[in-house]
């Protein structure tokens, strides 16, 4: 009887959930297809410097013009002080930010989960040391540490990914280890051992698949944070090098123009960050509610 009730509850996702899923889908779509969607080269300056976006009332007619190919494509979000098209850059930056955040998370899940399985299943002095080290890492303020690491290693996106993986791996390590500790005393692990499975075989075939769930839920939440961190690093000048389009650095360059009343170069990437992070956070929350404990 209760099963029926639970199923019903799971079947109907709330409005919020659909909004979250929608945002994430759009973000992924933009990241994949941005070269075909953007009207201007995001790194090539136009002669129109600091053009404000057209007023909303003019958008329908401009849109029509663009479709029939009559006249130049308007700068929907205006241009910045160097004459770069904000619309094209905001879209293109989805790709930059998503790739960095995703890669960093994939790397940290791989490292964190495998170390988590090892440290939870084989408990000895080495895994204890590993655990303490990871605790130590987690106690550093993420942003500052990432900034220092990138500054030391050099500002390339590979280094940013590595620095972030280094900082996020302990989250997955902890999560996985907690699961493994509960799993290792379960009867089916003992049964597998009695049936002649090797310890490595048990860890890989029984422990890992049963322990990975919470990490996959965390994955979605952490992507949001990672986007925020990527943008934050660029904002303070420790991220990807300009003119690579990136939301954080766009906000930073736009910020210098804010005093002159040019709000558009910062506002649009700002909105993009908030919406994307919100979308991933909602999705993480949904996954947690449905599959988490």
């Amino acid at each position: 009887m209760t099963d029926v009730a639970v199923e019903k509850d799971q079947d109907s996702l709330g409005v919020l959930a659909w909004i979250g899923i929608g945002i994430v889908s759009v973000a992924i779509f933009l990241a994949v297809f941005s070269p075909w969607l953007i009207p201007y080269d995001p790194t090539q300056a136009t002669e129109n410097v600091s053009t404000p976006p057209p007023p909303l009332s003019a958008w329908p007619s401009l849109f029509w013009q663009t479709i029939v190919g009559d006249g130049p494509t308007p700068h929907w979000f205006g241009t910045d002080a160097s004459g770069l098209d904000v619309f094209s850059r905001t879209i293109e930056a989805t790709r930059t930010d998503l790739i960095i955040a995703l890669s960093a998370n994939i790397v940290s899940v791989i490292i964190g989960v495998s170390l988590g399985v090892i440290s939870g299943y084989f408990r000895n002095i080495w895994t204890e040391t590993l655990l303490r080290t990871s605790d130590l890492l987690q106690s550093f303020p993420v942003f500052i540490t990432a900034m220092i690491l990138v500054a030391l290693a050099g500002r390339s996106w590979v280094n940013i990914v590595l620095a972030m993986s280094f900082l996020y791996a302990p989250i997955y390590l902890r999560l996985t280890r907690t699961e493994v500790l509960a799993l290792r005393d379960r009867s089916f692990i003992e049964a597998a051992r009695a049936l002649g499975k090797t310890e490595f075989g048990i860890a890989r075939q029984h422990i890992l698949p049963n322990a990975i769930g919470p990490s996959l839920i965390q994955f979605s939440v952490t992507i949001g944070f990672a986007i925020l961190l990527t943008a934050g690093l660029s904002f303070v000048g420790a991220g990807v090098r300009p003119p690579t389009p990136e939301w954080g650095s766009m906000i930073a360059t736009g910020a210098t123009q804010l005093v002159l009343g040019d709000w558009w170069p910062s506002l649009f990437p700002g909105i993009a960050i908030s919406v994307t992070v919100f979308g991933f956070a909602v999705c993480g929350h949904i996954l947690e509610k449905r599959y988490g404990r």
């Binding site: 009887m1 379960r186 009867s187 089916f188 003992e190 049964a191 597998a192 051992r193 009695a194 049936l195 002649g196 499975k197 090797t198 075989g201 075939q205 029984h206 698949p209 049963n210």
Partner: protein
């Protein structure tokens, strides 16, 4: 409407239904006479708990009493207002629920909880209520009730908490007591103590009782009448003796040892002086799980290892497979010292010794289908060529009478009984010489228990399998084992042939354990026996064990010497060993 003055409660046409579903209970008619103990039984899902609660006018969330009347005295309970009902519940009808620890409030002393109920329903003063609480605690057999009344629930053992619950329920002298599986999860001796207390109190106070249980032993020993439910309807309403004679699936009897007693052969498995302790975190102390355990088992023999929880019997089983490393002692399997094997050699030995665990749902990877769980070990040991693997597992399932259609399912989709048989099949696929069965039936309903035991007995004759059956359920051991080993606090206290142990136990602990065993026979009711040996007090902590005999603190026959002298397991008669220096003396006393 109560047709005789003797009737306490009668239900007429009672139906309970969850919204939009077929009725959980339909048209129940039953009467309960004063002072009568009625067993309410039926398979799981038959509606027995629902009925027990419905008698109080209660239902679970989402359910509704759709029809019927419940007459309690002159009142129809279902026609009363909530306020009037509240007054009757607790005062005239009391309830004992399954889990005693969670039923008591953790923040109040137990005595205070009893006196509060008494004050509420009897309107007495505080001092009088407190007096009553102490009186009730004494009545249910709690030593030193003045002090225990000030205890909190976490300071009490499970058995004692259960007794406090009876005291609480009986404090207002109710006319009817409803107990919903009150002994599930308790050890046999504690269960017997508890049921004795309940039975005696009911006889003393004339309280009628409804006892919800699936255990045939409890029905046979403590109930006057049995009502059986089947799919929400009363399928039987007969006296306990009639119920037992008509519906017990099996009569328990010790098996004669079918295999020739080959004492000249070398034993298949030999354990000598096994010791296992677990360090206690943060201290230098250790928990002594197994201490000086010796055991031998011959090919084709089945041995039962019995004892209460905490006696170390499961630890022994796990040491045999080297799933746990022992601290001391020697385990020899087929001439091979298990202490020195490791790696590949250990895996080969383990193929020959298999284990079936207690909780079937926990012993399969929840993500794997049954097919995968069965194929995987076959691949590891390459017992059959891959092309024949599928046929082999189907054959293996047939051996335990499970249909091959389960192969595509996952553990959670199967019933506990079937899954446990699949676990046996999985172990047997390894073609073991020896099987350790660690409480294989304790999580199962009585019917499933019988099936498992039948399967085991059949496999023994078919395959010549030897096994060690670890169990606290003496009925299982009596029916499926040639020999019995009794453990208490990590030591073997007595071992011998099944019939001898059950009919002529020597060690006082064995006597108490056998005495607590509820046979499915109303003619040998425990409450009627006069020669019962009951132990006093609680089981000592395995951290600070007594110096002398471990049982000395609880043994009715203990002398001063028992407190000081360590006991050794010595031969009492041929094939019968006892760890008690007074064993011979006790037998002489009995004879004279």
């Amino acid at each position: 409407m109560a047709d005789s003055t003797n009737t306490v409660l009668s239900a007429r046409g009672l139906s309970v239904q969850y919204a939009n579903e077929s009725p959980t209970l339909s048209d129940i008619n039953m009467d309960i006479a004063a002072g009568e103990i009625v067993g309410l039984t039926g398979s799981s899902g038959s509606g027995k708990s629902t009925l027990a609660y419905a008698l109080l006018g209660l239902t679970r969330r989402g359910a509704q009493i759709t029809n019927g009347e419940i007459y309690f005295g002159r009142n129809d309970l279902l026609a009363l207002s909530d306020v009037e009902l509240e007054d009757i519940r607790g005062r005239d009808i009391a309830l004992i629920v399954q889990n005693p620890r969670s039923a008591l409030h953790p923040m109040y002393q137990v005595g205070r909880q009893i006196s509060r109920v008494y004050q509420t329903h009897r309107g007495s003063g505080g001092a009088e209520a407190h007096q009553r609480a102490i009186e009730m605690l004494r009545l249910v057999g709690i030593n030193d009730p003045e002090r225990r009344a000030d205890a909190f629930v976490h300071e009490l053992s499970g058995g004692m908490a259960q007794r406090v619950l009876i005291a609480l329920a009986l404090s207002t002298s109710p006319k009817l007591l409803i107990a919903d599986e009150p002994t599930s999860g308790l050890d046999v001796t504690v269960q017997a103590q508890f049921l004795d207390t309940m039975w005696e109190t009911s006889r003393k106070t004339g309280t009628a009782m409804v006892l919800v249980t699936q255990e045939p032993g409890i029905l046979a020993n403590y109930c006057d009448r049995v009502i059986e439910l089947d799919a929400g309807r009363v399928s039987k309403d007969v006296s306990a003796s009639e119920f037992v004679s008509t519906s017990m699936l099996h009569t328990t009897q010790a098996t004669s040892s079918g295999q020739g007693e080959g004492q000249n052969r070398a034993p298949l498995l030999k354990v000598e002086g096994l010791r296992k302790t677990f360090p206690l975190r943060g201290t230098k102390k250790v928990v002594q799980a197994v201490d000086d355990m010796s055991l031998s088992l011959f090919a084709g023999e089945s041995v039962g290892l019995v004892g209460e929880s905490g006696s170390g019997k499961s630890t022994v089983g796990r040491c045999l497979l080297k799933l746990l490393d022992s601290d001391a002692g020697k385990i020899t399997f087929d001439g091979q010292d298990l202490g020195v094997v490791s790696g590949e050699a250990l895996r080969r030995v383990r193929q020959r010794i298999q284990i079936v665990q207690q909780d079937p749902y926990d012993s399969f990877d929840p993500r794997w289908t049954i097919e995968k769980s069965l194929l995987d070990p076959l691949e590891i040991h390459q017992i059959v060529p891959p092309t024949e693997a599928r046929a082999a597992i189907e054959e293996g399932l047939k051996r335990v009478s499970v249909d091959a259609s389960v192969l595509g399912r996952r553990p959670k989709d199967l019933s506990a009984g079937i899954l446990q048989r699949v676990a046996i099949a999985r172990a047997l696929l390894m073609k073991p010489d020896f099987l350790v069965l660690d409480e294989p039936t304790s999580m199962l309903a009585p019917q499933d228990r019988h099936i498992i035991l039948d399967v085991l007995k059949r496999l023994r004759t078919e395959l010549g399998l030897s096994y060690l059956l670890i169990s606290h359920d003496l009925t299982s051991v009596a029916s499926a084992c040639d020999r019995v080993v009794v453990m208490y606090l990590g030591q073997v206290v007595e071992q011998g042939p099944t019939t001898e142990i059950f009919e002529k136990p020597v060690h006082p602990y064995t006597k108490a354990l056998i005495g607590a065993h509820l046979e499915e026979n109303p003619k040998t009711r425990r409450v009627d026996r006069t020669d019962r040996v009951d132990l006093e007090g609680e089981i000592p902590s395995p951290i600070d064990l007594p110096v002398g005999c471990y049982l000395a603190t609880r043994c009715p026959q203990a002398t001063e010497a028992c407190d000081k002298e360590r006991q050794v397991l010595s031969s009492f008669s041929s094939h019968h060993d006892v760890r008690c220096m007074r064993a011979g003396q006790l037998e002489l006393d009995k004879a004279s």
